[in-house]
Symmetry: C2
Subunit: 307 residues, 2 copies
Amino acid sequence: MRIAVDLLGGDNAPDVVVDGALRACAADPAVHLLLVGPPAVAEAAVAAAPAATRDRLSVLPATRAVAMTDPATRGGRPETTVRAAVAAVAAGTADAVVSAGASGAIVTAAALGFGRLPGIRRPALAASLPAVAGPVVLLDVGGSLDCGPATLLWHAALGAAYAALVHDRDRPRVGLLSIGVEPGKGDRARRLADPALAAADLPRRARYVGLVEGHEVCDGSRADVVVTDGFTGNILLKGIEGAYAMAGAASTAPRAGALLGVRGTAVVCHGAAGPADVASGIALAATLYRRRVAQTLAAIVADRVEA
Amino acid sequence: MRIAVDLLGGDNAPDVVVDGALRACAADPAVHLLLVGPPAVAEAAVAAAPAATRDRLSVLPATRAVAMTDPATRGGRPETTVRAAVAAVAAGTADAVVSAGASGAIVTAAALGFGRLPGIRRPALAASLPAVAGPVVLLDVGGSLDCGPATLLWHAALGAAYAALVHDRDRPRVGLLSIGVEPGKGDRARRLADPALAAADLPRRARYVGLVEGHEVCDGSRADVVVTDGFTGNILLKGIEGAYAMAGAASTAPRAGALLGVRGTAVVCHGAAGPADVASGIALAATLYRRRVAQTLAAIVADRVEA
């Protein structure tokens, strides 16, 4: 399994990314890494690797970073590390891509390089938060802004399949994030999406449980998958993370998410990711590839578009 | 100071509300309560009160509750406890209203009974979250759904004044909640509101600090006032509360918010409020009344509409 790592993505790139990549490589002997970045950086990383992992590292030169202040469309430029990493996967040189860069740029690079699944206008970033009875999948956490009911329905289908494939959830419970649990609560998009979800046939025999509230993302009491737009989801995820930090608890919020709705495997790490976060992002990419998540989601979406 | 308490608002009404009301009355000898509810319930509450507080309790009969499943417009019906409590304040029989009922119903009742300030289409609920260097005011947490840049600008002005009046913040720092701190990050409403806020003249010499992220509501490092729409704010507030609960920390998230943008003093407690939460909501209403927050906000808004 070959994972392309964007060495220039993230607030503390490349050092933290290199550190995390070498950790991930050491932890999983099946993982080969394609280090995508300036040759000097990538070659120094190879030289720094222990002998046991060195022969599982290779280098793909690319020199341009996408800065947080750049527009997301910069992720479409072929000279950027994130676009080059996606291109390597699309060309079959690697099996998955991992980046801690600006999520908008990664979504752009992946949408262009992998292609979106039919019917999916906006891919979703899915994060798995630890809860009492296992992980809760929250999506979208940053891919789709200003999204309407049709996008929320796709998020529900992708999230349900993801919970089944990645977290072994049987008949996952799917909730729609809103400001109250009673039907009719919420903004316009939610009031339209709620009855549509209730009538929808979700994959993996998932059950729609109705509206859920912010705290239910943390406790997991009513839903295994929580569906929302990328604006609300991103803010909620960071707020939860901030609360854990304030409470003095080790952050149990995820620092990596999977990009769903494109024809390829992509993992986005938090921009402020540390080495352990980058390593867990690479491990997540390995899991997604092993479990054939991208292919299975593509088949599910194709079935639903044809139906 | 006379505070009208909606005995039928909240998941555990009337018992929890009565308990909280009697605690608040015992804690602050300047507080008189107008108990608004079914006569049998209100009279039993008076009978249960210690002799020292009993002469500071009076009763206003009203019999209908607004259920969480009712439309928000039900809060406009004169026979409901929340509308009767607002009417008592509007008529001068009480000075402030406190309810743990459905926030939409309270907003409706207050907008009708008090009237909205000129220019303000959607009043905002402001919650104060504890942070390292003092409270952070988050608004809106449930009053305004689907709101555009004009409403976000009003939230900023009201929130800045509130932070100065209630938390004694000198030159409060105002941030706009989004999914990144760089200009241009966010959905359509945020991309429009960000430059408008940068150009705005905020009250109390408040300073606009630009975009802030979810975790900054918890740590307070960059802003004393965080502006958002009521959908996102409500979900964020409940998510933070859920994270504190999961971390085993005593919930430090607020269980009561102030309704800003109407011609009167109204406090909304969390629907799942316990007696201590109701008591702190009554204490907040007393503070708002003592500090003449509603009148000062009305003067600020009138100045800005005329300017």
